[in-house]
Point group: D2
Chain length 235, copies 4
């Protein structure tokens, strides 16, 4: 079993009527529902408002893959918890980082860059699969039409990805590396652009399938995890 | 002119007799000497013991490429100055990071990984050029024999480099990605393994030529530098 | 001086009135004109109809960078000459391959894949710079609007490029890795998608600047060229 | 079930007494034996001396992964069969290419480069795992000591690999990218350096495990295979 923790900020769902309609159980609730249909996934959730954001040492130690959505409270997110997550990723925990979490403390710590981009609401997107042999692309069609999304545009200030699995085309003339894999320490990371809170993107079956694939791809091979160390070699 | 700041911790040179003999003017003095022979390089130095480590906003703003050697005082190095350097690299300043600086605050901030490796003193090294078309390899022989160096060995916990320009072979059976390029934000970075303070590596002409090439490669095209920003696109 | 040979099929210019109007001196003539304005470039041309397509051993031996446009006569192109070009690229000659030459014998020999893609005439393109620090991007704006071009769309069956310098957005909903670099043997290759014969793309100053940059980037460092060889090491 | 065809030249085993002793059933026989222990692999063999080298259209159409060892008869290998293999790889068949097959017609067609390197018999090798998270590295120790092997040394004239999973250290001072993955068309390729016919390398359990992992990694997801095609998009 892959132990998945879905983390969601859960602020917009409380405050904005349209978001509440789209995700009555919160983005985390939606994710938990479709991920739990997979027999190899054991799913729990946590949100910003839990103690230590629900991401205690104990929770992270028993998490194989963290699925992470954040937006409005990124400044308020605890620096200590962000460093704790970084340590767990470097030790082997997988991370699926969604949409506006590009600008979260945890992504910026792991990537080292500004993680900045262009953005604009209410455009249509065509999500092209540009690495069809990647495990995250398994069973995914060549192109997915998303009727309405937040446009994210290049230049996207990220380190060179291991693979650009998806490339986004937007109706207002922008392109974006929408699905990127990275390896950091012993951990595998997938960043995925779709998922603006005002659009029902996580209800699209193909998007759900990508997230399921990403969880499997990012899950570590070994249960025992260790942070890489400097090692002195003796004569 | 490329404005180069050579930064050196300058601790071992004060305290260890053998290091003083190898680098009577300090590692920074040795570097300044051979870099200054290049007509397109304008070189100054700074050390740990200068105010703000000699890396004030003013100094960094007028630096095109920072050459950086650190070791024993990496914990004591100011976190604020490390973040300042990171911001300048992301804005376009080049960084040539040498030897034990793999474990400096600045490299760890920029890479996001533990930057750990294996190590052992007093082995011989053969430094193989494994990207012969890279600008840093221009005029460099296929292999450079370094009679005595500190062995660094894989696994080296770094993000995937843009290019592995040099690969080190060590007499005790280890290999290492000894010369790696990275792009972060608008800045180019070269990490280069040779340069243990107890060995006269920076007196080797081919090693000097690699550092000169790296300075030119990492220098930004534009004088005006800007940190990448999130940009909202209007309708 | 960089010795440039611009090669053009030169068939459409003879046969199609619209093409003749856009390129009265042929695509090769247009290229020769703007490349010759650069003081470091020494430019000559050759076409399909010359003996051995104008690409004799002598011509290639004195060519630093071959700029290559082909389309309708790719099947008729001599296999022997294609293999000769491949040998010169592997020995260090640069290659700037344009538009429909993705499907030329020479590109297929050098890449080993089918080089297939999607295509459709008469769409507008926005060409995004996705590696702003690459030498080919020097002085190029973030985005170039091309009013009318032939759409090329993913999946593009190429090996993983060294860098994707430009990504194309097309008005009918497609994206493309429009500017890709590859290293093969001692040779540097740039493939560039814009340049359909029915559209005046090579008259656009920014497109011309990209091709000038690419010629400089692909030019070899050394005049003496050698094909890599198997080498037996003695005891 | 993954349908594996192990292809071996099978010349040295007939002619050299020492090779016969190491591989009494041929290299293909040795491979068949250890691969057949895996419950998900269905293994058959073919050799140079079979009609069409045993690699008919029918055989390749029912092969998921081709494991390939060649050396002395590479010039004599049918060009037509080599092109047939290339077509099947581009259509999705996996290829595990071993040792001296770096210089086979099929590898040269797929890679486009000279595939040349340095070589010398009778050195010891330490094979370092340099991509520990790669599926081919699963369960493989950090380093494998091979008491005697043929040294292969850089520069190795290959296109940039997708991943360098293993790096070889050799006792006479050379390094090599000993385990490299490539994607070509719909096919996955793993090149693996160890396996000189005069050394019993394929009897080493860890080497066998790498080959088993590579077969699984290179096996296609889908049974139905198609060669990528140019596709005209309609209005």
């Amino acid at each position: 079993m892959i132990r998945v923790t879905v983390w969601n900020e859960n602020k917009h769902e409380q405050e904005i009527e349209e978001v509440k309609k789209i995700y009555p159980e919160g983005i985390h609730g939606c994710m938990k529902e479709f991920l739990s249909k997979e027999p190899d996934l054991d799913v729990r959730t946590a949100t910003f408002y839990d103690a230590e954001h629900g991401l205690t040492e104990e929770v992270l130690s028993s998490t194989d893959v963290l699925v992470y959505w954040s937006h409005a409270l990124q400044d308020e997110f605890s620096g200590e918890v962000a460093e704790r997550i970084q340590r767990h990723v470097l030790s082997g925990m997988g991370l699926v980082a969604l949409h506006s979490s590009h600008y979260s403390k945890i992504l910026r710590l792991l990537m080292g860059t500004t993680m900045t981009l262009k953005w604009k609401h209410d455009e249509s997107e065509r999500l092209w699969c540009t690495s069809p042999l990647h495990p995250i692309a398994k069973g995914i069609p060549e192109v997915i039409d998303i009727p309405m999304e937040e446009m994210y545009g290049e230049p996207f200030d990220i380190p060179r990805p291991d693979d650009v699995v998806f490339t986004g085309w937007f109706s207002n003339g922008y392109v974006f590396r929408s699905g990127c894999t990275f390896t950091r320490g012993m951990g595998k990371i997938f960043y995925f652009q779709p998922g603006h809170e005002m659009n029902p993107t996580y209800h699209i079956p193909e998007i759900q399938k990508i997230i399921v694939n990403a969880v499997r791809y990012c899950s570590p091979d070994c249960i025992q995890r260790t942070l890489p160390q400097n090692v002195r070699i003796e004569d």
